[in-house]
Structures are given as C-alpha cells and as structure tokens.
C-alpha cells in the first residue's frame, strides 16, 4: 500500500498533464473479449467499476492506458479460471489497493460516507419538522367568554 501511494505521487505530474478530460474512449477491444457472452457481460460489469490507476477518473472499461488493458485481461483470465465476481475484485484490490474501487466499500471509515446523506436527511427533516410545528398556524381557538359576550352584543344590533 505504501509503495503504491509513493508510486502514485511520482506519477502525479503525468496525471495532471493528462488531466482535464478523458481521452477518446476506445477502451475494451474486440480481441480482449470472451466468446462466452455471460462471462463477458460479467467482465464488463466488473471492469466498469474498477478505476484505471493512472488515469483521471476513468474506469478500466473506458480507458486506453496499457495498465487498463492488462487489468481487463486479468479479469477475464480470473473469470475463465472460475473465480466469482467478488474473488476477481478482491484479487485486484489485493494488488492495487482499495483506490481502484469506484464503489467504496461500506466498511470502517467509509461508513461515514455512506451514511452522511441519510443522516443529513433525518437531521434536516427533524429540524424542519419541529420548526414548522412550533410555528404552525394555530388552530382556530374557541372564543373566550369576553369575546363571546362581545359577539352577542354585535349580533344584537
């Protein structure tokens, strides 16, 4: 992991020059694809959610980088060897780190990320609810005795 982070730091200037926008996405090539459509569909689904380690925010499915090609091939090799989807993903995470997952795992500190939205909804909704209840239009109160008397007076005229 540490080695990876350091490596990423070294490649940062390169990443920046490539920055701004993704290149033309020719991505997954016909010669990489598996003959079995079911396996190929699984491979595509997995590679859509794996981040290209040297690009700016591209998945390996969209990226032209050499490493993305290698990863796409590895995914297909593992699938052909009989791995489940999770095993393939674990295989890649073991080697490249959690950084390559576009779908951050809902564990440990990442729970904050996943729960932030719902927590904010509960918080905002709660505040709004109590604020509104406090300020709600008061239901029409029954007339007091004095008002009742005055009303009778008015009606008498």
């Amino acid at each position: 992991m540490i080695g990876f982070a350091a490596w990423r730091a070294r490649t940062a200037p390169l990443v920046l020059t490539l920055a701004l926008m993704a290149g033309p996405a020719l991505a997954v090539q016909p010669d990489e694809m598996l003959a079995d459509p079911a396996l190929e569909a699984r491979a595509r689904e997995i590679s859509r959610n794996i981040r290209c380690p040297v690009c700016q925010g591209e998945s390996i499915d969209d990226s032209n980088a050499a490493i993305s090609h290698d990863l796409r091939v590895i995914i297909r090799e593992r699938l052909v060897a009989g791995d489940t989807d999770d095993e393939v993903v674990d295989f890649i995470v073991d080697r490249y780190g959690e950084f390559v997952l576009f779908n951050p795992r809902a564990s440990g500190s990442n729970l904050i990320l996943w729960l932030a939205g719902p927590a904010m909804l509960v918080l905002g909704g709660g505040i709004a609810f109590f604020a509104m209840r406090r300020r709600e239009v008061a239901p029409l109160a029954a007339l007091t005795a004095a008002e009742e008397a005055r009303l009778k007076e008015i009606l008498k005229d």
């Binding site: 992991m1 990876f4 982070a5 990423r8 730091a9 940062a12 200037p13 990443v15 920046l16 920055a19 701004l20 926008m21 993704a22 290149g23 033309p24 996405a25 020719l26 991505a27 997954v28 090539q29 016909p30 010669d31 694809m33 859509r48 959610n49 981040r51 700016q56 925010g57 998945s59 969209d62 780190g97 959690e98 950084f99 390559v100 997952l101 576009f102 779908n103 951050p104 440990g108 500190s109 990442n110 990320l113 996943w114 932030a116 939205g117 904010m120 909804l121 905002g124 909704g125 709004a128 509104m132 209840r133 300020r135 709600e136 239009v137 008061a138």
Partner: protein, 668 residues
C-alpha cells in the same frame, strides 16, 4: 506582480500592455467600488453611496478591454504571450483561436472576472428601483468579490505574462476542447456560477441591513433564476459534448469537475423555490439567506476543486499550492465571512407568514431539504477521497456506483412528491384533495409503465420505473397548469392568458420528468456492439444492419483523419450512411474519436471507428442510445421554464418601476 518587457514580433507592442494595465486599473476600481459605498451606506453618506454604480460600470469596461486584448492576442497568435504559446497554434481554426481565449486557466479566470463585473454593472443599470442603501451594498459586495478574483489573476495566474523569446508556433489547444459544444460550455457555466454571486451579494446586504421582505425576494429571484438557467445550459452543453465526443455515448460521469457544477445547480434550484416562499408568504427568510450564501459558496468550492488540482491528487496540490491556497483563502473569506455574518444577524429575520404542516410552503421546505441533501451527497462523495486520505490514511475512490446508489433515492423522492406538493394551497393545503385530483395522472402513468413493462419482456425494472416517474412528473405538471384555469367554460382561452410564471413552472417541472425518463431509458435499454468488421462486412445492431463499406484517410486543417463509411439498413430499407472518424492532432500528438450519430425521436444510432486490426478489418463500435434526444429536450424545457418565469410580468413591472412596488418596499 512583475512586468516583463519583451520585444514584440506583432508590431503593435503596446496593445498587450494596455490590456495588462486595464486589468491592474480594474483592481483599483474594484477596491473603490467595494469600500466607499459600504462606508457610505454605513454612515448614510449619499455621495459615497453614489460611487457604487459608476465604479461598477467602469470596472466592467476595463475588464472588457482587458479581455478584448487577450482575445486579440489569440486571434493574431501573439506568441510573446505565454498563455497564447501554451494554448494556441497558427493552424488552429479561427473559431477555436477565439474560444481558446477561455480554454485555459488564466483566460477562463479573466472571463470569470469579466462576467462578475458584468453582473455588478447590471445591478447598476437595472437596479434603479432598489432602495439606495441596499443597491450600494449589493454593488459593493460584488466589488469585493471582484477584488479577490482580479488579485488572484494578477498575482498567481496573469494571462499577460510575456515570454522572453517567443517561439515560432504554439503548443495548440487540447484537441478535445476544439469543439463547438465545449467552446461555449465554459461561458455559460461561468454566467451561472458568477450569477449566484448576485444572490450572495443581496444576502450579505440584507444581513448588514437586518431586513428581508417580499420586495427583497422579488429582486433576488430573477438573478438566481438567470444564474440557474445559465448553469442548466452550461451543464447540458458539457454533457452533450461528452456524449458525442468521448466515443461511447456516456453523458454523465460523476467526475469531480462535473460535480463542481452540479452542486451549485442543485442549491440554486433550492434557492429559487425558497425565494418564492419569501416573496409570496414572507416566510423561510433566514433559510433563504443561508441558501444564497451556500449556493455561491459551492460555486467557489467548485472553482477550488477544478483549479487547485486538489482532487486529482493531494500531492500535486502540495507541490504547487500557490493557486490552491489563494482560492482557499477566497473561499474561506466569503463563505466563512458570510456564515459568520449570518450567525450574528439571522435572528433579526423574523417570519411573518405562518403555515400549516400540509401546505405549499411545507412542500417547498421538503423540496429544499431533498435538493440540499442531494447537493450534500454529491459534495461528500466528491471530497471523500481527500478526507479519507488525509484523515484516515485510507486511499479510496468514489465513483459512479456510489453516486448512483446514494444520490438517486433523494431525486426519486423529489420526483414522487413534486406533483402533489406543487398543487397544494398556500398556508393550509388539503393533501387528500390534491391526491384525488392526481388520480388520473397516477393511473395513466402506471398504465404507461405497465405497457412498457410488457413490451420490453424480461429486462430490468429500471425502464418501466423511469417511465412511471417521468410520466407522473410530466402529466402532474400539465394537470397543475390546467388546474390554474379554474372552473367552467373558456378554460382553454384562460390557459393562454395564464401568467408566464405558471407556464414556466409547468415547463421546468415537465423538463425534469422528461430528463428522468431519458436517463433511465438510456441506462436500461442501451444496445452495444463491440467487434472487428472486415471491409464490406455487415453486422447487426439491434434491429439494424450496419455495413462497413470503406475506410480512407483525409487531411483536416490541423489534424489527420481516418474516416469510415458505414451504411445502415433496417429490414433491407436504407436508414442512413454514416461517417465516423478517428482524428490525430500532430501538434499535441493526441487522437480523438468523432462518433457518427444518426438521431430520431426514438433512438440515436451511434457509430465509432477504432483501430485497424492485424488480421485485416477494423475495430468498430455501435450503440443504440434509446431516447437520447430527450435528455437535451428535458434540459431545454427546464431552461425554457426558467426563461418564462424570468420574463413574467411581475418582474418586468418591478424592473421598470421607479416607484415602490406593492407589498412594501422599506421606507428609508
């Protein structure tokens, strides 16, 4: 600030210096515009307050001159300017020489400052009916933001840097940016980002004054509407560009740069709605002020994210922190300062209009909560990699799967409650009555969804759900419009006489419904073929047959292109002949794909030519993008809705009137 004098090959050595001096002068004028009127408003000195309007106009004129000079330098390819050398080339087509002015950090920031000054000057031109003190303060706050950004330009990102030895030719603009969609994407986006500065300035002025009323909301709302319309168009242009240029029909990637524009859009949408409540019911005042501060704050956060490189990599930020730290300072000063002022003064904004738990007001509160939480989810997803790496030392990525899972539920909830909420009465509504009125809409939507469910036979539920939600929102918007015509005869003629704001509401809401439908349809029913095709070979793409007729090379103005001819037929009948290209820009040594797109109301045919294969033949890609055109129609309807509301009579009357508008302008 340093000035370098260099020999100028262009023969008009002074012009660039003029632009540079105009920029320096604009900084001085902005300082005057910021300080004197604020002081004048504080002391009740009319002479000092009167400085505001002319200063704003002069600042705008100076920046326009400066920007004009930079554009001129790009047009004549003055490579003595570093920014021209880095981003232009003599062979580049003229359109992209001009748009290249803002296709880089320095030039785009100058454009940003120019637009900021334009909004300040607009407050001077059209703000005649504002109370003198409020107007002075609004223009002053605009001036203060101007000071920050012009200083940022001059001290860290000066577009008028000279090169000591100008090269013979430049490095060209990134070929991906040499495109009409992207050429006009930034100006619209900046008009939106910067337009929110007006809401911010009004909010700050109101906080200093300690008063918010219906008239205030009536002034703020048109500016916010304009900003939101520009943001809508800008985001749509960027998305459209990604769709046809990146070569596989994706239109939204949840990229940090996209998110940076999406967050202010969401908050501006919330602000639009809460300002209605302030305007019509004198309630939600303090929340509206907070939203105005946050909406502009998120514009600044977006600028920070895009310009500092901090999201790309913490390390690249640390290695060249000058620009990032400067923007962070601007962000901290304006957002932080605004929030502190808010904390001190917000309690002065007492609400007048009370409302029940079930009412139009409470529905708009719900709208605001959902939009604000959506923006918050986008925000935390965008910055989480940064937080996680710095605080948890855990290097993670956050991409499309997270946003799809965490963002979508809030937007679905918004779409579900929208038609009912929009039809509730002010103050105290009757939910069951509104729902009863919507029964035909619900029935029709469910019927449509079931029909689609039956037609698509066994694919994911996403498509039918998209149809259900989209129809619910669109039909709900139409019913809402129809219900405004009252009862009895002549409803059709009354429909044509409804205020434009009603039409605007219907159009914008229907646009959202159309967009929801198109997004789900494109996710659910996309057809993709990736394969090798030999010359003359025919392959199937959905119900279409595509034949690769031939491939040849051509020379463009500043690129080489490999162009394929593909013939598309359906059941033997010709549909289209399409010419996808693969270009190579030698100056930047960069390839681009130019997909060929054949569009109808029901689907886009999207063809891409790839690399030549070793065993002969070409890699080709074909996509059927169902209902793709409805994405842009939906976005267009939303922008049109904003435009209709903006031109509603009550704003035109308010803008033209010199006398106080009804409902009480504060008597100064």
């Amino acid at each position: 600030m340093q000035f370098r004098v260099a020999r100028n090959p262009g023969g008009m050595p002074m012009i660039v210096e003029l632009g540079h001096f105009a920029l320096v002068l604009a900084l001085m004028v902005a300082l005057v515009q910021a300080l004197l009127p604020l002081w004048g408003a504080h002391r009740g000195n009319a002479a000092l307050m009167a400085v505001a309007a002319p200063a704003a106009v002069v600042q705008f004129a100076l920046l326009a001159l400066s920007f004009g000079v930079l554009t001129w330098a790009f047009v004549v390819s003055d490579f003595s300017l570093a920014v021209v050398t880095a981003n232009s080339h003599t062979l580049k087509p003229m359109l992209y020489k001009i748009t290249g002015t803002w296709g880089n950090h320095e030039g785009s920031l100058l454009l940003w400052s120019l637009i900021l000054a334009l909004f300040g000057a607009s407050a001077a031109w059209f703000g005649g009916n504002l109370p003198e003190r409020l107007r002075a303060r609004v223009i002053a706050v605009q001036g203060l933001i101007g000071v920050a950004f012009i200083a940022f330009l001059l001290f860290t990102s000066n577009p008028f840097w000279r090169l000591q030895t100008p090269p013979l030719d430049g490095n060209d603009l990134n070929p991906l940016l040499q495109d009409p969609g992207l050429a006009f994407h930034p100006p619209f986006l900046y008009l939106g980002y910067v337009g929110l500065s007006m809401a911010f300035s009004f909010a700050i002025a109101a906080l200093i004054e300690g008063r918010v009323d219906a008239a205030w909301a009536r002034w703020v709302r048109p500016w916010t509407l304009a900003a939101w319309i520009f943001l809508t168009i800008g985001i749509a242009l960027g998305s459209w560009w990604a769709y046809y240029e990146l070569g596989w029909g994706g239109f939204w990637f949840w990229d940090p740069v996209e998110n940076a524009s999406f967050m202010p859009w969401l908050l501006a949408a919330a602000l639009l709605h809460s300002a209605i409540v302030v305007e019509k019911r004198e309630s939600l005042k303090s929340w509206t002020i907070l939203l105005a501060i946050l909406a502009f704050g998120f514009s600044l956060i977006g600028t920070f994210i895009v310009r500092s490189g901090v999201i790309t990599s913490v390390h690249s930020f640390a290695s060249d922190p000058e620009r990032g730290v400067f923007i962070l300072g601007i962000l901290a000063f304006f957002t932080g300062g605004g929030l502190v002022l808010y904390a001190l003064r917000a309690s002065a904004m007492e609400a007048k209009g009370l409302f029940g738990m079930v009412s139009r007001e409470s529905a708009l509160v719900l709208n605001n909560i959902l939009l604000a939480v959506s923006a918050f989810v986008v925000f935390i997803g965008t910055i989480w990699p940064l937080i996680s790496e710095i605080m948890m030392e855990r290097v993670v990525s956050v991409g499309e799967p997270f946003f799809n899972a965490a963002f979508t539920p809030f937007f679905v909830a918004l779409a579900v409650v929208l038609p009912a909420g929009a039809m509730l009465a002010w103050k105290r509504g009757d939910l069951s009555r509104a729902l009863k009125g919507l029964i035909p809409v619900a029935a029709l939507s469910v019927a449509l969804a079931l029909l689609v469910w039956a037609m698509q036979s066994g694919r994911s539920a996403l498509g039918p759900i998209g149809v259900l939600l989209g129809a619910w929102v669109v039909l709900g918007a139409l019913l809402d419009l129809w219900s405004r015509t009252g009862r009895g005869a002549n409803r059709l003629s009354r429909l044509t006489r409804l205020p434009r704001a009603d039409w605007g509401k219907a159009s914008a809401h229907a646009g959202l419904g159309v967009l929801i439908f198109a997004v789900s349809a494109m996710h659910a029913w996309k057809v993709e073929v990736i394969r090798v095709a030999q010359l003359g070979e025919t392959f199937a793409l959905g119900q279409y047959d595509v034949t690769l007729k031939e491939v040849h090379d051509e020379q463009g103005p500043n690129y080489r292109t490999t162009m394929a001819e593909m013939v598309v037929t359906r059941a033997g009948a010709p549909v289209a002949v399409m010419y996808p290209e693969k270009r190579f820009y030698p100056v930047q040594a960069m390839p681009t794909t130019e997909a060929a797109i054949h569009q109808t109301a029901l689907r886009d045919l999207y063809l891409v030519i790839g690399d030549a294969q070793q065993n002969g033949g070409w890699a080709v890609r074909g996509y059927l993008e169902p209902f793709a055109v409805w994405l842009w129609i939906g976005a267009g309807l939303m922008a049109l809705g904003g435009l209709l509301s903006l031109t509603d009579r009550r704003y035109r009357v308010a803008a033209g009137a010199r006398r106080p508008v009804a409902q009480g302008v504060p008597a100064e």
